[in-house]
């Protein structure tokens, strides 16, 4: 007799006694999750808004919020430092040139500084537009931070993470080329960032943006994700994930001027992700394969939910990318922040 025979008998017995049936144990097969209803949602407009929103999450607003917070410094609150402050924070660089504030203090005006922020910035211009090599402008700045600045009950600026960006611009009498790169790997909240263009209510982002302008305009890279604490895209969606590149129609090297490569996803408040997938963003060696109709150059993507094609085509209007309203270069002055503007004294 097989060693399993008693078990088989047992199973039969249990079943016969009613001890193991699905009905008795309360087991019910999982109900297939229904895809939320998108009826009434203007999907073209929704994703256009998603594009606009995610492109607003760059280092500029965070840096401006940082500068606003520095404008609230009083002598001794917070303490200012040359170099990296003496705090426990794995995100801080090792010994480096720069400045920092670090403290937990409240001023007489009920301004509170809690935490720390270390910053570096540099800017330079070299040459002239009349010279053959042109005028070269560079700017870099970075924040390594875990700090909150508030006035009364109002959070002016909370920055927690790493934020940096850079500008390289070469201008000649006949041409202009620039590249801007931004990283926001941080939580950003407060009234200051919102006043400088970030969606109000705060966000947590891990987002890289890189684009070129001037004679050749390209959204080189938009990659990462953003979760908005309060802001809602289309009054319903709280997060964006993106991995995408797109070249301006004026870029002659572009094979498909109407459509990005990659995807942009939005998440609703019930945690359903809606992935709008455009032409594939090729990896090395992937070029050339076709999967019609998805690889058609028609400016439209297809919505996927949990990996399933929903059979819905969405054609966001991305013309705003190239009309000068969004993908702009910062000016070099934005990268300047005097180390000598701060109140002296105090402890």
């Amino acid at each position: 007799m097989s060693r399993l025979t008693p078990f088989l008998a047992l199973l039969v017995a249990c079943n016969g006694l009613g001890g193991g049936s699905d009905e008795d144990t309360g087991y019910a097969p999982p109900v297939e999750l229904a895809t939320p209803d998108l009826t009434g949602v203007d999907l073209d407009t929704l994703w256009t808004e998603a594009f606009r929103t995610v492109l607003a999450v760059d280092a500029r607003a965070a840096w401006s919020a940082h500068k606003d917070a520095l404008g609230l410094v009083t002598p001794g609150c917070p303490d200012l430092y040359y170099g990296v402050p003496p705090v426990e924070d794995d995100g801080l660089p090792d010994m480096a040139d720069g400045m920092a504030w670090a403290d937990h203090c409240t001023t007489a005006g009920d301004r509170t500084f809690a935490g720390h922020t270390f910053w570096q910035n540099a800017a330079s211009t070299l040459g002239s537009t009349a010279a053959p090599e042109g005028l070269t402008t560079t700017g870099t700045r970075s924040l390594f931070t875990d700090g909150i600045v508030s006035e009364g009950d109002t959070v002016v600026s909370e920055l927690d993470g790493e934020i940096r960006d850079s500008l390289l611009r070469i201008q000649t009498e006949s041409g202009d080329e620039w590249t801007y790169n931004s990283l926001v790997d941080a939580t950003v909240t407060g009234t200051a960032a919102a006043s400088h263009g970030m969606p109000a209510g705060g966000l947590r982002a891990d987002l890289v943006l890189s684009y070129r302008g001037g004679d050749v305009r390209t959204l080189e890279d938009a990659r990462g994700n953003v979760f908005f604490f309060e802001h809602r895209i289309g009054d319903r969606f709280d997060s964006i994930a993106i991995d995408l590149t797109h070249a301006a129609p004026s870029n002659n090297a572009n094979d498909c001027p109407d459509e990005p490569l990659g995807y942009i996803s939005v998440r609703d408040e019930n945690a359903f992700w809606y992935d709008l997938v455009f032409q594939p963003r090729y990896g090395a060696g992937d070029e050339g394969y076709e999967n019609l109709p998805y690889t058609e150059c028609d400016g439209c993507g297809n919505i996927y939910v949990r990996g399933l094609d929903q059979g819905i085509e969405v054609c966001p209007d991305l013309s705003f990318l190239w009309d000068g309203s969004t993908l702009n270069a910062p000016v070099v002055e934005d990268y300047l922040l005097s180390t000598r503007d701060f109140p002296q004294g105090g402890n």
């Binding site: 144990t25 203090c105 300047l336």
Partner: protein
């Protein structure tokens, strides 16, 4: 709370016996009582987290400070102006945790002498400045890497500096902006200038 147990997944004789016992008889016989949990909750949130009502006691102070002193002179020529040439010196000194003991004759790690030479600026003059120069900074002695000021001039730096007599400042142009950089005073053909501040600093402790 009552839980029904019947599983064929355990393949061993003792388990089998237990399972048989559990499955014998009617379905109601297989219901066992789970004792009530009388243990206090791990997270007792009945008491509020104490509020810190003494914010001022949180005010921290740097363990170490650095006092930065930059001072120098410009000698202008020709006498009486308009000036076409500038020579001068700039001294950078940093003291960690205050001035050194007078008995301590060792120079501080950051004590740098910089020679200055300037030619009149042709590309732009600072507004309200009486003269603006392109000033070359060349290190004569000392080690700039021992200094903490992130805006210290590097060896060979050329800075566009102007003297504003109405504010008593030497201003430094970066891009299109003019920053007040030194407090300055002109007497005759000589300008003396200085800047000093004390900030916190991290000091690497010797092991």
């Amino acid at each position: 709370m009552k839980v029904r147990i019947c599983t064929p997944a355990a393949w061993g004789v003792p388990t089998l016996m237990l399972a048989l016992a559990g499955c014998s008889g009617s379905g109601d016989d297989t219901v066992i009582d789970v004792p009530e949990d009388t243990e206090p909750a791990v997270l007792d949130d009945t008491a509020p987290f104490p509020e810190d009502t003494s914010v001022s006691t949180l005010d921290e102070e740097p363990d170490h400070t650095v006092t930065l002193i930059e001072q120098g002179t410009w000698s202008l020529s020709p006498l009486g102006g308009p000036y076409t040439s500038l020579v001068g010196t700039l001294t950078l000194i940093e003291y960690i945790d205050g001035p050194p003991d007078p008995q301590d004759t060792a120079p501080p790690p950051c004590q740098v002498e910089v020679a200055l030479t300037g030619t009149p600026s042709v590309d732009g003059n600072c507004p309200s400045c009486s003269f603006t120069f392109e000033v070359l900074h060349q290190v004569v002695s000392g080690d700039l890497t021992q200094c903490h000021d992130p805006d210290r001039p590097f060896d060979g730096a050329v800075r566009r500096l102007g003297y504003n007599p109405s504010t008593g400042k030497i201003q430094w142009q970066q891009a299109s902006l003019w920053f007040d950089w030194y407090t300055a005073n002109q007497v005759g053909d000589q300008v003396t200038f200085s800047y000093t501040t004390t900030l916190g600093v991290t000091v690497e402790e010797d092991n």
